[in-house]
């Protein structure tokens, strides 16, 4: 029972990692950029949600939509203003650029007077309810996280499978030049991918908010999502979620069964082992260099 209980909380935490990793993977697949700002995107999304609810008095659902819309716009804007001019430069300068974006966003949020430096709670309608099931106790926040992740995955799957936009994104991610020749506006697609990543990050932030509170440094959890993305395979969307679940479960289990301190590094130990054993991850595409 103890084991199942731990597994459930691990899966809930893992879904958050998975959602952030989903953002990495979306951007990486489409544009080959690894965005270190994804954690900060999540933080900004959560802050917008809090601001919408406490200052504008929005109800929860409207606040969620507002945060998603705002983050989508932010993603579009950043792609257009900052990322697009440096496309084609070495991959690492773009990574530094995203680190810079992360710093910028964190600094900006901290500079908001009377709000940025404090810790906030997000008033969610499902707060504090628990489900009892034999000796298993599951918090409603955890159920919300798991359900939303499942729903979001289904939506993303449907989008990539059945809509023109999704298919165009897939095409652009596989071969930008070929997609461009086929009449797909690759640059616009890139912008939309960033917008999508922003929206996913906003959802992750709002889901995480009831569990860990909203503060300016919550974006550092994004660093835990890198292991998730690597374990799943950096270029694979289902891999991101699976990787998140794996990392979350391992973290939760090692926090209980292993001595203190292992919980914080479990994810990183796993990623090191993964990189040595199977650098392509569980679902990674194995690409061979063609000459």
């Amino acid at each position: 029972m103890q084991f199942v209980q731990l597994l459930i909380s691990g899966v809930a935490q893992g879904c958050i990692y998975g959602l952030i990793a989903l953002g990495f993977v979306l951007i990486y697949k489409a544009t080959e950029i690894v965005s270190f700002a994804q954690g900060e995107f999540m933080m900004v999304g959560a802050f917008i949600g809090v601001a919408a609810m406490s200052f504008l008095g929005f109800p929860f659902w409207l606040a969620v939509i507002a945060a998603m819309a705002a983050m989508g716009l932010l993603g579009l804007l950043l792609e257009r203003v900052v990322i697009r001019p440096v496309l084609g430069q070495p991959a690492f300068s773009i990574v530094m650029l995203t680190i810079g974006i992360g710093y910028l966003l964190r600094g900006l949020v901290t500079m908001i007077p009377g709000m940025g430096t404090e810790t906030h709670t997000l008033e969610v309608p499902y707060k504090d309810a628990t489900l009892q099931w034999g000796s298993l106790v599951v918090g409603s926040e955890q159920i919300a996280v798991i359900l939303t992740t499942v729903l979001l995955c289904a939506l993303l799957f449907a989008m990539f499978r059945y809509t023109r936009l999704g298919v165009a994104m897939q095409a652009a991610s596989q071969n930008q030049l070929a997609a461009y020749y086929m009449g797909i506006p690759v640059q616009r697609i890139n912008g939309m991918v960033w917008a999508l990543a922003g929206m996913v990050a906003a959802i992750a932030g709002l889901l995480l908010a009831p569990i860990t509170f909203v503060h300016a440094n919550m974006g550092f959890i994004g660093l835990k999502a890198f292991p998730a993305a690597v374990v799943g395979g950096f270029g694979s969307l289902p891999g991101a979620i699976v990787g998140g679940l794996v990392i979350g479960s391992i973290e939760s289990l090692s926090g209980f069964y292993l001595p203190e301190g292992f919980k914080d590094v479990a994810a990183y130990v796993v990623v090191l082992i993964m990189l040595m054993v199977r650098p392509n991850g569980l679902f990674g595409e194995r690409l061979v260099k063609k000459v």
């Binding site: 991959a91 964190r106 600094g107 430096t117 890198f226 990183y268």
Partner: protein, 358 residues
Amino acid sequence: MRFIFKTSYQQDIRLAKHGGHRFWYGLLLLGLLAAPALLPEYWLAQLTFVLIYGIAGLGLMLLAGFTGQFSLGHAAFLGVGAYTQALLTAMGWPFLLSLSCAALLSAAVGIVVGLPALRVKGIYLAIATLAFGFIVEEIFARWESVTGGNKGIFLQPPQVMGYAFESSQAFYFLCLVIAIVCTLAILNLLRAPTGRAFVAIRDSEISAQSMGIHLAYYKTLSFALSAALAGIAGALYGHKLQFITPEQFDIVQSIDLLLMIVIGGLGSVHGAFLGAMFLIFMPQLISLSKDWLPDSIGQSPGLQTFVYGAVLIVFVMFEPLGIYGRWIKVRAWLQLFPFYRRGMFRRQKSFQKSERLR
């Protein structure tokens, strides 16, 4: 405009290419030697930190700027150096011996980290080093019998031949000497076959390999040397602060180091020190600017983070070669004065290359 007509290989690899170099670097050296007499205590301490971060930056520059292997966990090497130094000096070892041990131990750890670097590259390597950095930080915090855990650990002033470097002036000179030795070592390394091999690996692994460069050996060597320099810097850093805790060697420190060399100018030895100056003096500039800003912004702790992010973005977008790259352009303008054309340094557009096929 100065033209140097090279007539021998000796001339080609000479460190000071012409009299101008000798003059200006000599002047710089004189200035640095005179600094303790001229500067107040506070600014001397800042200058000492510039030297210490400059040494760490040299290490990271060798790895990232010259070998093309990016490390997001470099603060861990700094920490290994600092803790080794703290433990050995506490046991009464002389400074130079413990410093060498700190460098050697960091280098050994660097080799351990460098081994996965043979299998993974690019962003995967960055994530592997990131993971390594987290693990090392956690070890510092948890291994309480050795590192003192989160309570931290004290360091004595360094002692060489019975002379204790207690005053900040004496310690400054110690750092200066070590920084000069490290810089000369790196400069020599870069003009030797090893350094050429590093640069070849950075520019193209495949062509380097086909020229007979043993990738595994040189990549591991680069990690080891880089970690050794970081270890030396860490040891000095510990002595300067006289008190170290695990939080000083966290991911933020690693990213600061990376930010430092990117802003200083990737792929130049000058860049390491220019970046260190940026990292140390930027907070001073920001606190000076606070008087001009409205209180709600000026007093906010986020201002520094914001400025760092903004500066980093501006540099990557408009000046990828950093402060040193900007200086080269200014120098060209001065040398060519009436004939400088806009766009002399314009870079060619390159097509986006896929990492997946590399």
